[in-house]
Symmetry: C2
């Protein structure tokens, strides 16, 4: 027996029409090289309607991939809706990728057009002759003075929009399983792999950003997404804001701490999100700014150092809200929101909790699987296992079936490559990446756990722990430490600090001081680089 409910697909066209009808008076501010622009949702929506017909004029095929090579701006958000609402597939290209990766990705996705911020043309244009499928490059003039090539493939965004007839009425009804957007993962090994989001996954994920125990986006919020719109749809914030009716502040190209803190203050931002590195940079500037409107600092991308979160709580009363996920999970899978049983807890216990990755959000299932035996691990906060995830916004496979086999289980769950324990309240605590786990004398050592402990040292800015080969124990941990500016610390001090905090056999065999932890193109620790540097076996 079937339910007798209306067959209304979950599509981004609903998000667009809702924002246009009810939130036309709300604003999107974009920081530019020369100042700021502000647009109402009504004006923005009118431009989306023009852009929709521009895609027809450019003869983008019915499900053609629409590449973007852009900062976070209101115009990028126009593409976010115009592409999927007309049945096309938004493909956000990561501006920080190496040229050969970009060429591979644009080719693999068969991007037909690419929209490029003028300030990013110097990065993009040199590749254009290698992009076989790209027929048009549309330059979005963001005030930069980069030269615009005189080439028949090049168009000016504003000229196209000005010449376009706006699409009228409601966008056509689409299959909710139709592709809406895609994003490539930038693994440290192998070719990037394409994750293809559907309308259904995008809408459900957006709903989650509105739920109280996730980001709780509301019409009353002012949201600054610092996380780039080419990283898993900026963690779902842009679509979430449109669904909720939140005001938006887009940071544009200037990602300096000073620029960010100034936007937070001037626009009385209530919700923001970015990786820990961003917040480390902003931290020293907090005392000079009034951030009293801020209620949520979403943080993820890599484990949030407890000390960083505490520093924010002490400075402005707002600790980090940690979330965990990845491109393959749309990305929100867990959020470390406060729970009722914390009411009796000390601030210290709460800080420990906030350093965890959090509880799976509704509709996401998480299980912990022993990487050796494949057995399900209990949620006793002791046993660790690989985090496997299932849910309607979690990837089932990669685009064109490539590179997938090992990353999906036979019963269809995603193998995230993260290793974690979980407590009886559903709170996940990552200890490592499967590939970064250190196996010393047959026992696992969690490199992320060790890093967190080292980063708790007041003079340490960052730390990465890697496995180095060892004759007797097979592998032993080595700590790579970045000292805070103006501070001095010795290897002995680090080890002394660690001694009461971890098991004796977890103590790193060596501490190396480095200037910075090398990062991947998406800002994650590149341990591969460190392993190459410090890989020579040691005897102790």
């Amino acid at each position: 027996m079937l339910g007798l409910m209306q067959d209304r697909p979950l599509t981004l066209t609903h998000v667009f029409h809702r924002a246009e009808q009810y939130f036309g008076h709300k604003t999107i501010v974009t920081a530019t090289a020369n100042g700021e622009t502000s647009t109402t949702i009504a004006e923005w929506a009118a431009r989306v309607r023009r852009l929709a017909t521009v895609l027809d004029t450019l003869e983008v095929s019915a499900d053609g991939r629409v590449g973007t090579f852009c900062w976070n701006t209101a115009r990028h958000l126009e593409l976010y809706l115009a592409a999927p609402c007309t049945g096309r597939v938004l493909h956000t290209l990561n501006i920080r990728l190496f040229p050969e990766q970009l060429v591979y990705i644009a080719d693999h996705a068969q991007d037909e057009v690419v929209f490029v911020d003028r300030s990013l043309l110097p990065l993009f244009w040199p590749l254009v002759d290698q992009l076989e499928s790209v027929r048009h490059v549309i330059v979005i003039d963001d005030g930069a003075d980069a030269e615009v090539p005189s080439d028949p493939r090049v168009h000016d965004y504003e000229e196209l929009l000005a010449a376009a007839t706006p699409f009228e009425g409601r966008f056509p009804v689409l299959d909710e399983n139709r592709a809406a957007a895609m994003c490539y993962t930038s693994g440290t090994t192998g070719n990037p792999k394409g994750v293809v989001y559907s309308h259904r996954s995008a809408v459900l994920h957006s709903l989650i950003t509105l739920t109280t125990d996730a980001m709780a986006l509301s019409e009353r919020d002012v949201v600054l997404p610092i996380v780039p719109m080419f990283h898993a749809n900026a963690w779902g914030l842009p679509y979430g804001c449109l669904l909720a009716g939140s005001s938006m502040v887009m940071p544009g190209p200037n990602m300096t701490p000073q620029a960010i803190v100034s936007l937070l203050e001037r626009h009385r931002v209530s919700v923001t999100g970015g990786v820990p590195t961003i917040w480390m940079g902003v931290l020293p500037l907090l005392p000079e700014h009034d951030l009293s409107a801020l209620r949520t600092i979403l943080c993820g991308g890599s484990a949030v150092p407890r000390a960083l979160s505490e520093a924010y709580r002490e400075a402005i009363g707002v600790p980090m809200l940690q979330a965990w996920g990845m491109t393959e999970t749309s990305p929100i899978a867990t959020v470390s929101s406060p729970r009722s049983h914390h009411a009796e807890w000390t601030e210290d216990q709460r800080a420990d909790y906030r350093a965890r990755q959090g509880v799976p959000v509704p509709l996401v299932d998480v299980r912990l699987v022993d990487p050796d035996t494949g057995e399900l691990q209990p949620w006793d906060d002791q046993a660790t296992g690989e985090v496997q995830a299932a849910g309607p916004w979690i990837a089932a496979e990669y685009y064109r079936g490539e590179g997938g086999g090992a990353q999906f289980t036979e019963d269809g769950w995603l193998r995230t490559g993260d290793v974690a324990s979980g407590d009886r309240y559903g709170s996940v605590r990552l200890v490592d990446r499967t590939k970064d786990l250190i196996k010393s004398g047959g026992e696992w050592i969690g490199s992320v756990e060790l890093e967190n402990e080292i980063m708790a040292h007041p003079k340490v800015a960052e730390a990465a722990v890697i496995a180095i080969p060892h004759e007797k124990w097979v592998e032993r941990p080595l700590a790579c430490v970045v000292v805070k500016e103006g501070e001095n610390v010795t290897a002995e001090e680090i080890l002394e600090f660690l001694a009461p905090r971890v098991a004796k056999w977890w103590l790193p065999d060596a501490v190396e001081f480095i200037d910075e932890v090398p990062k991947t193109s998406v800002g994650k620790f590149s341990k591969k680089t460190l392993r190459e540097k410090f890989a020579s076996p040691r005897v102790s």
Copy 2:
């Protein structure tokens, strides 16, 4: 091109397993005739697992209808999950229906079993021989002393559970469009009509109850659903609470104001929901109770009097949160949550806003259609039209196709029978029911608007306005007024009070004082009864 996301259906089995795994430590309190019982979600879930196999033992067919005739209790909530998680269809019977309606409904739905609270047996048992499809009556002993008939069809709930083997592992994967629950509308004319909710609609609706601008249910909430679980699934609160992990307080059979206020205070309830009549009863008791934990009083079912909401705001700082919907809309369609543009408003303006029905929640579309011409009305807060609704938790048709034709448009929208205007912020303001509209000299008069103005009089408890036939104007309004206990007011005073508030030709031709406004079985004003009483034509 399709998205490459996991094909994970939206089913209530997810809600169950999530609650069981992450929220096992949370509690459900149930008020009984003799005191209170308290159960953890873990204990409750273990009972759901037993109940699942009880349904097999009773040979309920694979998609058989499982009737319930119960108060709001933790046990009723066991049925809420056990029936749909095993593929059956929960059918909540309204205990306040007339016997002939109950017989019609149970027969029409083909209920195979009915679970009955012992205290309700005297209402239910006399009908049992007329219920052709009902093979088993399971008595849930709630401590009442009603006699339990000695009859082979009768079983004791606790005995069945004690004898059952718990269902193990995860419930099977179901089609998300499968029927999960049904509820009959109790129209004032014609036979009741069955609304059949799907798993998909129930899950999506539950998600909405977690969003900030709807009920914002959180793990940190303690929720008291006063609205009965046989009214459109208690407005979605029980499933929402399980999905969010909120604690629950179930009021059981004692719905006196004293019992309710005492539950609110003792359990530090943060969210509650019920019809206006309930809150009118509780109002005088507020000063003697500490309701400082209360953050949201959800109110709906009929228009929320502005004065009532303001009285709560003045007494405890919490006005009503008005929501609008109906059985056919699962029921949440609009919520009158505060908006960013109210920041500059006076308290008086906010109170006006709160007296509106609110903004459509995400995934619900609302349009206003002129009942005469069928044309779409602008959202200018002036033009009124019939409210038509579309969305994934809105009915497409009635069970067995009956009584439907007129209530669904050709393009698949629900005709709600409510007449409203809407403003440019998406906020809907009901002015009447299509069938209650008063057409005087060719112009519409909104009976609900008039009622609201009359109820703003400090000495008026309730008011209902009906059309009476008129020789010259065809119809004219007549006001039926219930005076507050201990107060005195004349018809002249009422009309004087109204004069500056409504157009002159809206002033009722007569004011009749009545002891109470007659109500339908679901607590709505029964204007039909009033029309029968006061229908004689008048000349003025």
